[in-house]
Amino acid sequence: MLEVDIKKRLRDFDLRLKLDIDRGKTLMLVGDNGCGKTSLLNLVAGLDTPDEGRIALDGLALFDSEKKINIPPEARGIGYVFQSYALFPHMSVYDNVAFGLRTRKMPADEIDVLVKEHLDRAGLWDVRKAKAADVSGGQKQRIALARALIIEPRLLLLDEPLSALDVRKQAKMRRELKESIRACGVPCIIVTHDLRDVVSMGDFACLLEMGKVALMGCAEEVIAWGSGQDDVGDLH
């Protein structure tokens, strides 16, 4: 279970959030550009530090301003799929997926077995030797996800995972993504602009406005509320 109760001064407003996500549940985070969605992911991942508050995963504090705990990102065990995928362009598809295991100094033969398993599952084994920059958009998305899942994360963060794909590929990838997240069985936060993602992938949704929770509920509730609001309608 992920517990977040933090405060962070951003450039234009204060980000104040209190969220709990159970294991195997997916929270869809929606809101206008610059409302603090990606900032929240970065704070949870440890790439940025909250001004105060607490972030805990399965009861263990990742950040606690009172107890002066701040676990660095590399020790948090969080799978993060970045909006731009952030694949390492100088490495092959195989090396990108193996990266997280190599940082853990896992023996090469064990890495080989695990990477093969993940690449097979994602249909990427045939392109394993290609440079990450040379594969298609859909393949990049799968590599980014496989790279995040192979480290057996305790939490998954996905920042607009489908936004870089064309519309035809989005529907297929949305189904694949949903299955992968379900199989992983950990809490998950997905940032999206697309209300179709909210309905098809989320267990519940949270609408952020200027760093605060404007609405929290099941996906349908947020959509229903959003359809009556002009600015939220623009999320499409």
């Binding site: 970065n42 995928y85 694949l87 362009p89 100088h90 990266f99 940082t103 480290i151």
Partner: protein, 285 residues
């Protein structure tokens, strides 16, 4: 009526098109001439160098002990300088590219200063800092008995001083070009800052770093003003190739021409290498 107006319109259009086309041709001719002149201005002195020195004279001068000493010293000092600049400059360039700290503007300006500082001024500045009577040199001399000025070490210090900005500026740009999300991705995957630096940032920035190092090496090889002021002009100890060219000019022109040709050939290789290396950039993905 409307037909007349159309006709008139066409005429105006054609009348306007003719001068614009001839203007374009005139512009192209002017630019072509300018480019030819500029190329001739740079190429002519280089060609003249080769004309004045037949190959057999070059080969013969290459056996001259003055030339051999100057070549050996120049290559040795420039190599040591380049290693020093790369080892010291890489972390400085990375910090400058990624972090904001108090006084950063001042530090960055100070790093760039030797590029615009006249080399002779750099030489005097080094002399009053590290010379026997200098600010630090006096202390080094009285406490440790170390004297830097007019030694091979002084040559290296002068070269480091003038060539370091060439590396640091290029390295800083290369590090700035590495997408921050790649560093963040590596960190979330379990990599420490050091692991991320060596396995993600450094390989991506490598071409830029190598081309910066080549520029620094070339600048060290051509260094003259600061060296002659701070290190003097002693054969085998501080007389690098540019200093030997200057000295030979007063006696044997063949020696100075031979050394010049070696430096020109080397500079050309450097430019080609830098162009090839900076062309290869990783696609963002």
């Amino acid at each position: 009526m409307s037909g007349d107006s159309n006709q008139e319109h066409k005429c105006i259009g054609r009348a306007a098109a003719i001068p614009s086309r001839s203007r374009e041709i005139a512009l192209k001719v002017c630019l072509g001439l300018l480019l030819t002149l500029a190329m001739a201005f740079i190429a002519l002195p280089v060609i003249a160098l080769f004309f004045r020195s037949p190959l057999d004279t070059i080969l013969e001068t290459l056996r001259d002990p003055v030339v051999i000493d100057a070549l050996r010293l120049s290559l040795m000092t420039s190599t040591i300088t380049t290693f020093t600049v790369v080892i010291m400059g890489t972390p400085i360039a990375y910090v400058s590219a990624r972090f904001n700290y108090w006084g950063k503007e001042l530090a960055d300006s100070l790093i760039d200063l030797p590029v615009i500082m006249p080399p002779a001024v750099a030489g005097i500045a080094l002399l009053v800092a590290f010379g026997r009577m200098g600010l630090v040199g006096h202390y080094l001399n009285t406490t440790f008995g170390i004297s830097i000025a007019f030694t091979t070490l002084a040559v290296i210090i002068a070269q480091v001083f003038v060539s370091s900005p060439f590396y640091i500026r290029q390295a800083r740009t290369s590090f700035e070009d590495v997408d921050l999300s790649l560093e963040n991705a590596a960190r979330t995957l379990g990599a420490t800052r050091v692991y991320t630096f060596f396995h993600v940032i450094l390989p991506i920035a490598m071409n830029g770093l190598i081309s910066g190092a080549i520029m620094a090496f070339a600048r060290s090889l051509g260094e003259f003003g600061a060296t002659i002021m701070f290190a003097g002009n002693f054969q085998g100890r501080t007389q690098t190739m540019p200093l030997a060219i200057y000295t030979a000019m007063q006696g044997d022109l063949d020696v100075s021409l031979c050394l010049s040709i070696i430096l020109v050939a080397f500079s050309f290789v450097v430019i080609v290498l830098v162009k090839i290396l900076t062309r290869k950039v990783y696609k963002r993905c």
